[in-house]
């Protein structure tokens, strides 16, 4: 039979094994949202811009991402059933006693890449942004700064330049 000093080692190794078996993984949500930010369309360097009175929603969806808010950065959830998603950005300004609003449409075209995350979290789509099509009422131009929308990453994908 093994002697007492070995019992100490048995206990230590078993403790390590028990702690190593603890699974601390947790699942992230809304990881297929495109991150976009507003920038001023003046100057050679990017300058952050915040717009007020902004409404943002997906085309053919009544729910608003932003409702009369001040917005610099936004998370635009891509529709995973299709290879493109359209969003409406509306800016409302008070001119005198009147509220004047202007809309722009942003259409993101992307490739969907199905990925396994884990047994507990299931699957996720990573997106590869290909093209952005947009109107130019509020928007001056749009540039894809980082084309990959990946699970677990928090990186700005699109810069939206606004005419001051």
């Amino acid at each position: 039979m093994l002697k007492k000093p070995y019992i100490k080692w048995i206990a230590i190794v078993m403790l390590i094994a028990v702690f190593a078996c603890n699974d601390s993984s947790f699942c992230l949500s809304n990881q297929h949202a495109i991150q976009a930010s507003f920038y001023a369309a003046t100057g050679d360097t990017d300058k952050d811009t915040t717009l007020t009175g902004i409404y943002i929603w997906g085309l053919e969806n009544d729910s608003l991402f932003h409702d009369s808010a001040s917005v610099h950065e936004m998370y635009l959830t891509a529709n995973l059933n299709y290879d493109s998603t359209q969003f409406i950005i509306r800016e409302e300004k008070l001119v005198g006693d009147n509220v004047i609003g202007e809309n722009d449409t942003l259409q993101f075209l992307y490739k969907r890449d199905l990925q396994y995350v884990s047994g507990d979290c299931g699957m996720a789509f990573n997106l590869i942004l290909d093209t952005v099509i947009y109107t130019t009422n509020i928007i001056d131009s749009v540039r894809i700064s980082y084309a990959n929308v990946n699970y677990g990453e928090n990186i700005e994908n699109v810069k939206i330049y606004i005419e001051p």
């Binding site: 093994l2 048995i10 078996c21 529709n79 396994y116 047994g119 979290c121």
Partner: protein
């Protein structure tokens, strides 16, 4: 008087020589007899798989061990088994069947203090391969804005190769009947699969979520000696 002293010196020297020779012969007599090699084959079952089942009811597996003892120090080890996994969770429904084979050696670092003590402290290494067939009849990606995305992933096969380092204890609790456990650090070296879906668990390796796994076995073995000497 001088003659008497010389005689005493002579007797004393002679007695010292005899004492030394006697002690030396005693040492030779007390040299430990060689421990018999006691080669043989042990067949066993890893009941750790049933312990896993108690904590993870989704996983059902069986593992058998064959251990060939060359001598007191070296063992060749083969481990074979299968594991089935089936669960239906909110993000993923999953089913798999797979089998595995691990081959390797164990080295006993336990120094014997008594004849007939066959306990072992083991360090060893294994090379493992596993084949798994698996599928998901439903997976759901949650989307509160556009609505959840649901689809299926058909049958897929994965081949996995890994290496592992082994440390453990093995004790003879009854004559030729052993109980032992090992802790194993496993590292995948190659994984080929035919689907975007990874296998949830690889038979003989453990959960796929990590490329390095710490695992535990708890074996009961019976030793069939090839010689009658113990």
């Amino acid at each position: 008087m001088e003659k008497t002293l010389r005689m005493l010196k002579y007797i004393l020297s002679l007695s010292l020589v005899f004492t030394f020779l006697a002690a030396n012969s005693q040492e030779l007599e007390e040299e430990k007899p060689k421990e018999p090699k006691n080669p043989g084959l042990s067949i066993g079952l890893n009941i750790g798989t049933f312990i896993v089942k108690a904590f993870e009811s989704d996983r059902t597996g069986v593992e058998a061990t064959a251990r060939y003892k060359f001598n007191r120090k070296f063992f060749a080890v083969g481990e074979v088994g299968f594991e089935n996994v089936e669960f239906d969770r909110e993000p993923l429904q999953y089913k798999s069947n797979g089998s595995f084979l691990r081959l390797g050696i164990d080295y006993n670092i336990f120094k014997v203090e008594e004849i007939g003590n066959n306990d072992n402290i083991i360090i060893g290494a294994r090379y493992g391969i596993a084949i798994t067939d698996y599928s998901s009849n439903r997976f759901t990606i949650k989307d509160d804005y556009w609505g959840d995305y649901t689809n299926t992933l058909g049958n897929a096969t994965s081949n996995t190769h890994w290496v592992e380092a082994v440390f453990g204890l093995r004790s003879e609790i009854l004559k030729n009947f052993y109980m032992g456990w090992t802790v194993r650090l496993r590292q995948i070296v190659a994984l080929n699969q035919t689907s975007e879906l990874d296998p949830y668990a690889i038979p003989g390796y453990g959960r796929r979520d990590n490329t390095t796994n710490l695992s535990f076995t708890y074996n009961l073995e019976y030793h069939f000696p090839f010689t009658k000497n113990r």
